[in-house]
């Protein structure tokens, strides 16, 4: 069946730059310019659309991490820097997304350690970084300030701003020239509202990535997909408040019943498949960065993206 792929779109997705090389004043081996799309990816008439980047998510207190990943990675998880290094050298990730889970304990106050952790990860890997700061309003200001300061000149992508708390992270991003993730709960209007709020306190459009929130396959992914489509369509039709690249994380996948309660022998495979298909759907809807936690999903996705570009189907799927 033939489809007309000319949609008369007039909008362009804005650019966001993550990571700064030595030439830019940072220490990363590369810097990514995301966005710029004028259509949907993987359409027959859009062969040049870039593949999404794949980020591996790691953390600095693995107690908060899925047992599946803890088992798979073994001792690695006890050294945040080794974990970050392995993400680059062994797992093949394009980006490392560091969750500062150490801040999630009650009455956390050791802000200095936040800076040290980030420094150790900066030393361990040359990949551009996504840093997920605190998720506790009380310490937001200090933690984001420290993240911003430590990563000065490195052009981090800082996470995560929400409508209910965006001022601290925006302040840090503005002060140290980082970009930030703006997350809204699976709704095109709420996504736009947050972007307007950020714009009005001074965050430029080219420093925002939209996280539409990604439900796991079978657990709301279809809603996410639809929200992403609407966000992207609005942007392509000219709504600049939605014309930012998108970042999706398939992390809910590890918590769903099918994966959690899978036969131990199959659990890794289930986790990977679930993350993989969630990631593929997000990519097709237009996401520019896909985040996963299972190391093996990284390669699967990257192979699949390469194959999709060549119209070859998913050879990465076993």
């Amino acid at each position: 069946m033939e489809y007309d792929l000319n949609f008369s779109w007039t909008g362009t997705i804005g650019h966001v730059v993550i990571g700064a090389t030595r030439a830019d004043g940072g220490t990363r081996k590369t810097s990514y310019t995301l966005g710029g799309g004028t259509s949907l990816p993987y359409l027959d008439n859009n062969p040049s659309s870039p593949s999404p980047l794949v980020a591996l998510e790691i953390c600095d207190n693995p107690e908060f991490w899925s047992p599946i990943i803890r088992r798979f990675c073994g001792d690695l998880i006890h050294s945040t820097s080794d974990w970050a290094k392995t993400a680059e050298t062994v797992y093949g990730a394009d980006l490392v997304r560091l969750y500062l889970t150490s801040t999630r304990v009650r009455n956390f106050s050791d802000i200095v350690s936040v800076g040290k952790t980030i420094e150790s990860v900066l030393d361990a890997t040359a990949l551009p970084l996504i840093i997920e700061g605190s998720n506790e309003p009380g310490i937001d200001s200090d933690v984001f300030q420290k993240c911003g300061e430590t990563g000065q000149d490195e052009r981090f992508l800082l996470g995560t701003a929400e409508a209910s708390r965006y001022r601290s992270i925006a302040a840090a991003a503005l002060a140290y020239d980082h970009s930030l993730i703006a997350q809204s709960p699976i709704d095109v209007n709420l996504a736009k509202q947050l972007n307007i709020l950020l714009r009005e306190i001074g965050v430029q459009q080219d420093h925002i990535m939209i996280d539409p929130y990604t439900g796991a396959l079978g657990y709301g992914l279809e809603y996410s997909f639809s929200a992403m489509e609407r966000i992207r369509f609005s942007a392509l039709k000219g709504d600049t408040d939605l014309a930012m690249p998108m970042i999706c994380s398939a992390i809910d996948s590890l918590n769903i019943k099918e994966v959690r309660e899978a036969d131990p022998a199959l659990q890794d495979e289930m986790a990977m498949q679930w993350e993989f298909y969630t990631g593929i759907a997000a990519a097709v809807a237009g996401a520019e960065i896909i985040c996963v936690r299972h190391p093996k999903t990284v390669r699967m996705l990257k192979n699949a993206f390469a194959d999709m570009k060549n119209n070859a189907g998913f050879s990465g799927v076993k």
Partner: protein, 633 residues
């Protein structure tokens, strides 16, 4: 039996052990504020038990009281049962007070053409040469005096029975009252001698909160008195849903009686003011919402409030007023406005009649905000309508210091953008007790302009100002310090209050957009926005636009029609042609059920932003806010 004494009025009442204090208060004739209908949800019926044994679950309702209040015996009247003889203090804030009720409708040159008239006739007594029957003689007389054609006048049996003696007793000088009812002309009354100057009619706005009556002299075509009072049904629940539920549990009789009584009280007051006899009221025209009209007529409203929301009757009804307990002449007729649907009732048809949108070529948008909101879009050719729950926030409910338009309610506010000090005026210019709906809208617009809140309504706690602080549960803004208030507490607006307000305004705006989309018109096609309802009269048009309560159009083109229901009822009372058009208007209006509208949630979410997620819909507001920001730097 246990005796309960209410202070400070020392009213005493005996009730069965186990009755609630609310029951006792109602029996003592005290109107207690029960926003939730006595379900323990609103916390507005606070009373203080000074002595005696009661049962009350303090733990369960802890959130409504301060420590200090608890130590003084505070409890909720609706949830506290009488166990022993009691002394109960009712604070002023718990008693429903005289409200600032809107009695002025927009009066315009209305052509005077009532549907009930009196004809004084002096008849020749019958003779052997002229032996025509009494009735023929009487009706010919009426016709000769300018009345309708004799053959077309129907005479009910009760009046027929009166004729022979009355004619002879009065020496053939009588006054007949002819009413135009749906069946045609009807002789509804016959009196001795010339009483033709004594004929009055009443137009009634039967609101769920208030009843307003205009008393008209149907000979001179002038208003002779205006009166208003509370709808007594309030004691059975503040909102319609609570009352229908009350009717389900306890039967409809009480609510029917209370509705009629509420009208009677206003009728009596108006009659006394005008110095007329209630017996001379020959017609009552009632505009009320669908449920109110059903209740007044004693028609079960239970099926209106549940899916699929079907009213029993939509057409206009004419009944004998005495059959539903309305005090007037024994043959007084009552005309009830037609309805469109469950929530588009006679009050809205009256609004439409009063603003004249059904006669205009241009498209108008009518918004009636009360306990619920109703929206009508259209012109003389077509009309769409919808209705929904705005939530009580805009009327002061579900807002910590929200209150009705009672004395002491802040109704207008401006805020200095730099010091953040508010300037406010209260009803009756007394010390503030709370904030009324129009005040809340001002507050929201001013806080936004002063950058105290962002577009989602969150308070920027980073601002250093003593008025911005974190309260017990969430950030809040102090509108008035305890020392300047009448209640000895700081009057604040909390972030939760603001959220409730935004939800209310979002549902109204979303409803407007749904109708506009349905009709395929944009805001540029709307020539006029009419605001109706008590709330609308005090509303600041600019602030209503700034917060995105209504679509942005030229401010000059926004009109407050005030109490459109009473104006419409007046029109229908004194001009029978207008009345005839009502069923036609009602039939022309298409009703959109918002619950069944798939895009409603989407429109709603995009409206939960100040003024709206799509800023291009509010260019004037955008410009204004930009300049406010610029000024603040």
């Amino acid at each position: 039996m246990r005796s309960v004494t209410f202070l400070p009025s020392y009213r005493k009442v005996d009730v069965a052990r186990g009755s609630t204090i609310l029951d006792a208060a109602q029996r003592a004739g005290l109107n207690i504020n029960v926003v939730c209908g006595g379900q323990g949800k609103c916390g507005k019926c606070v009373v203080f038990v000074q002595s005696g044994r009661t049962e009350f679950d303090k733990q369960k309702y802890l959130r409504f009281f301060s420590e200090d209040e608890l130590s003084k015996g505070a409890c909720l009247a609706c949830e506290t049962t009488v166990q022993g003889d009691l002394k109960v203090f009712i604070p002023e804030s718990t008693i429903i007070q005289e409200q600032k009720i809107l009695v002025e409708g927009r009066d315009k040159g209305i052509e005077f053409h009532p549907s009930v008239r009196k004809y004084y006739v002096e008849l020749q007594p019958p003779t052997l040469i002229d032996p025509s029957p009494d009735l023929t003689r009487l009706l010919w007389g009426v016709q000769r005096s300018g009345g309708p054609v004799a053959e077309k006048i129907y005479v009910p049996l009760e009046v027929m029975r009166e004729i022979p003696n009355l004619l002879r007793h009065s020496d053939w000088k009588v006054t007949g009252t002819i009413a135009l009812v749906p069946g045609g002309y009807r002789l509804i009354d016959l009196q001795e001698n010339d009483t033709s100057k004594r004929i009055f009619g009443a137009a009634v706005d039967l609101g769920s909160t208030t009843v307003v009556v205009y008393l008209w002299d149907l000979v001179s075509g002038k208003v002779v008195a205006v009166a208003s009072n509370y709808n007594k049904q309030i004691s059975c629940g503040e909102d319609i849903l609570a009352r229908v539920n009350f009717a389900r549990k306890n039967g409809l009789t009480k609510l029917q009686t209370l509705a009629a009584e509420s009208i009677n009280v206003a009728l009596t007051a108006a009659s006394n003011t005008a110095g007329i006899d209630r017996e001379d009221i020959y017609e009552v025209v009632v505009a009320g919402n669908t449920v109110m009209t059903h209740m007044l007529l004693g028609i079960d409203p239970a099926y209106i409030i549940a899916e699929p929301y079907v009213p029993v009757v939509q057409r206009a009804l004419s009944v004998a007023a005495s059959r539903i307990g309305i005090a007037g002449n024994q043959n007084c007729g009552l005309f009830a406005f037609p309805a469109v649907s469950d929530f588009i009732g006679g009050d809205i048809i009256a609004d439409i009649l009063s603003c004249g949108m059904s006669k205009r070529e241009e498209i108008s948008l009518l918004i009636d905000i009360g306990t619920n909101f109703e929206v009508v879009l259209g012109n003389k050719e077509w009309m769409f309508s919808c209705a929904g729950a705005a939530g009580p926030a805009l009327e002061g409910g579900e807002v910590l210091f929200g209150m009705r338009a009672n004395p002491g309610a802040i109704e207008k506010i401006t805020i200095d953008p730099f010091t953040l000090d508010p300037l406010y005026t209260t009803i009756n210019n007394i010390k503030p007790r709370g904030i009324t709906g129009s005040g809340l809208i001002d507050l929201l617009a001013e806080l936004l302009s002063a950058c105290v809140i962002d577009r989602t309504g969150r308070i920027n706690t980073g601002i250093e100002n003593k008025r911005i602080r974190t309260g017990q549960h969430c950030p809040e803004f102090v509108v008035a310090w305890a020392s300047e208030t009448d209640i000895g507490k700081d009057i604040v607006i909390t972030e939760n209050d603001i959220k409730n307000l935004i939800m209310s305004k979002a549902s109204i705006h979303a409803a407007c957009v749904i109708l506009m989309k349905e009709a395929g018109v944009s805001r540029h096609d709307i020539s006029t926005i009419f605001f109706a309802g008590a709330f609308g009269n005090y509303l600041d048009k600019k602030n209503a636009t700034i917060i995105g309560l209504i679509p942005e159009i030229e401010l000059d083109m926004i009109r407050n029609i005030g109490n459109g229901a009473i104006t419409g009822a007046n029109l229908a009372l004194i001009n029978r042609r207008e009345r005839k058009a009502l069923d036609e208007i009602a039939a022309k209006i298409a009703y959109i059920e918002l619950n069944a509208e798939p895009s409603f949630m989407d429109e709603y979410t995009s409206s939960t932003f100040l003024p709206h997620t799509d800023l291009t819909l509010f260019p004037m507001v955008q410009q204004l806010l930009d300049s406010c920001r610029l000024r603040k730097g």
